[in-house]
């Protein structure tokens, strides 16, 4: 088993941080192997931002994500850039707050107004946690509890409540998506 995740958006949306929390949760609290990378260089200053995670039941050989099975995009740019890389049969999760056009993909598209929900919860900065929760709820790769523990390890205490709330909300949305439940929001589908 080898599953590739890509979390892509704009600098400041916290997607690299979310990818590290996902990897940390898997590394410290499951028997799975994990490899996390991120885009470095000029890209990491403003502009686009990207965190990649590979989960495997054996040691990861090639450490880079090329065709993610799960692609979370939180800007239109990220969607336009990476949608074509989605693995056949993969799932593209779009933050419909910012992603208005989704190119045709050879997989499933799920849309949800992630940033808008985060704003309603109090701070848009926790949109990354909703996104992370969706990925976990949708894939079952880690439990909500394990993710919450990783959040508490990586993030300052003052932010725990809101982050965990966002995470929980995302997780529920993800589980609904997995159950084939309603695909919230809109977007062009394959």
């Amino acid at each position: 088993m080898r599953k590739e995740f890509r979390l892509a958006g704009a600098g400041g949306q916290g997607l690299i941080s979310a990818s590290i929390i996902l990897a940390e949760a898997i590394a410290s609290r499951t028997d799975l192997y994990v490899a996390q990378t991120q885009s470095y260089g000029p890209e990491s200053r403003g502009g686009s931002s990207r965190g990649d995670v590979i989960v495997s039941d054996s040691q990861v050989d090639y450490p880079e994500v090329t065709n993610p099975e799960y692609l979370l995009v939180m800007t239109q740019d990220a969607c336009s850039t990476y949608a074509k890389d989605l693995a056949p049969g993969g799932v593209l999760i779009a933050d419909s707050t910012y992603v208005k056009e989704i190119p045709s993909v050879n997989g499933t598209v799920k849309s949800y107004p992630i940033s808008e929900r985060a704003r309603e919860m109090g701070r848009e900065i926790v949109a990354n946690m909703i996104g992370l929760g969706i990925l976990a709820g949708l894939t079952g790769v880690v439990s909500l509890e394990v993710l919450e523990e990783a959040v508490m390890e990586r993030l300052p205490k003052s932010t725990w409540d809101l982050n965990k709330k966002a995470l929980r909300h995302g997780f529920e949305v993800g589980m609904q998506m997995a159950g084939g439940g309603e695909e919230v929001g809109e977007g062009t589908r394959a």
Binding site: I20, I26, A27, S28, Y33, G41, V60, D61, Y62, E64
Partner: protein, 381 residues
């Protein structure tokens, strides 16, 4: 630290934790991408264990301070990347000549010159071996996985201490920045080596070979221990004082070389996969070897008799391993590396015409992909 537990480490972070577990208590460095996290983490972690971190005024000074601290008795390390590695060479040579144990980490990036600071390369393979003037064997280790960064950093310190020599840990940007699971061994399970010390009160000849196994590595006192000895980068006699006599100088220069070359088989570590019956061999190291491994597994799955040799020790060069594998019938040897053929050149030298050596090369910052290797193998068939 707590008992054995898995957690996520970045490669550069695993290097720092491995070094501290090995007993490193001094780090001198200078900021340079993509190794900077090592300095940053040392500045946090070392004082927590009673050690000392200093950011020196330049790369040269960092290497100098490492030598000084090691002579004063501490296990010492520095970390850098290509441009800084070039600057450190003179004092690495000093450490080799004066037999000062220390570890130099080079997280390789694209060169020549400033190159691509945030992108990976493996172009310092030959510089690590030959970058200094004069003859000196050097030990160079190259990890491919984050957990291996941890264990090889400890190994680098152990070899440095046991052989009184600088050891280079040749990483690359992919391994340095990658985050992976590391299961930390329990402190009691670690094997940690310390330098031999002279017997207090004895007459101390800091460069005199002794008797028996490892007699070619003299003990090393620390400054302040009362031995009042001399250390110089000039060619010297057993007492450490300079000489212009060829009959005194030659044994000294030969000994610092032979103490490493004579231990080639013990020092050389490699990972082999399907090499017993391979008719095509892939030889690689560092992050490129991960792509090679994926390619070899995929090809085996469809019945291609291909094997992998992943070099963990780069220098001294594991020629005996390559020659053993090549004693079978090899149709070709494929060498994927992020440079224009430095490892391939050495492999070719070892094979001496017994099989064609084909390079798979990238140099502008993109990790070699498994497909590159698969294509090269298929072209042989």
């Amino acid at each position: 630290m707590e008992e054995s537990r898995s957690r996520l480490y970045q490669g550069n972070e695993a290097c720092v934790e491995g070094a501290i577990a090995a007993g490193m208590r001094f780090f001198a460095g200078y900021p340079i991408t993509p190794s900077t996290e090592i300095a940053e983490l040392c500045s946090v972690r070392l004082p927590q264990v009673g050690g000392t971190f200093i950011q020196m005024e330049d790369e040269i000074a960092s290497m100098a301070a490492v030598c000084g601290a090691s002579l004063a008795g501490l296990k010492a390390m520095t970390a850098t990347s290509g441009p800084g590695f070039s600057l450190k060479q003179e004092n690495i040579g000093f450490a080799a000549e004066a037999e000062i144990p220390c570890v130099i980490v080079n997280v390789q990036r694209v060169g020549p010159s400033t190159g691509m600071p945030t992108s990976p390369a493996q172009g310092d393979l030959m510089q690590a071996r030959w970058g200094r003037h004069g003859d000196q064997e050097i030990v160079v280790l190259s990890p491919a996985y984050v957990d291996e960064v941890y264990s090889l950093t400890i190994e680098a310190f152990n070899i440095a201490e046991e052989l009184r020599t600088p050891v280079i840990l040749l990483m690359d940007e992919v391994v340095g920045h990658l985050r992976e699971k590391v299961t930390l061994p329990k402190p009691g399970d670690l094997v940690i080596k310390d330098r031999k010390k002279p017997v207090p009160g004895s007459r101390y000849l800091p460069y005199a070979p002794g008797e028996g196994e490892d007699g070619d590595v003299p003990p090393l006192a620390a400054f302040g221990d009362g031995f009042r000895f001399h250390v110089t980068g000039l060619t010297h006699g057993p007492d450490g004082f300079p000489t212009n006599s060829p009959s005194v100088g030659e044994p000294q220069i030969k000994r610092i070389n032979s103490k490493i070359s004579s231990r080639r088989e013990k020092l050389c570590k490699a990972e082999e996969l399907f090499t017993e019956d391979a008719d095509i061999l892939v030889v690689s190291f560092g992050s490129s070897a991960r792509s090679a491994k994926k390619a070899v597994k995929d090809l085996r799955a469809v019945g291609v008799k291909v094997g992998l040799l992943r070099l963990i020790t780069l220098w001294p060069f594991p020629e005996h391993v390559i020659q053993r594998i090549a004693a079978g019938k090899l149709k070709a040897v494929i060498v994927p590396e992020m440079n224009l053929g430095q490892l391939a050149r050495e492999v070719r030298r070892c094979l001496d015409g017994r099989a064609p050596v084909i390079g798979v090369n990238r140099v502008a910052g993109k990790l070699i992909e498994p497909a590159d290797v698969i294509r090269a193998v298929q072209e042989v068939k």
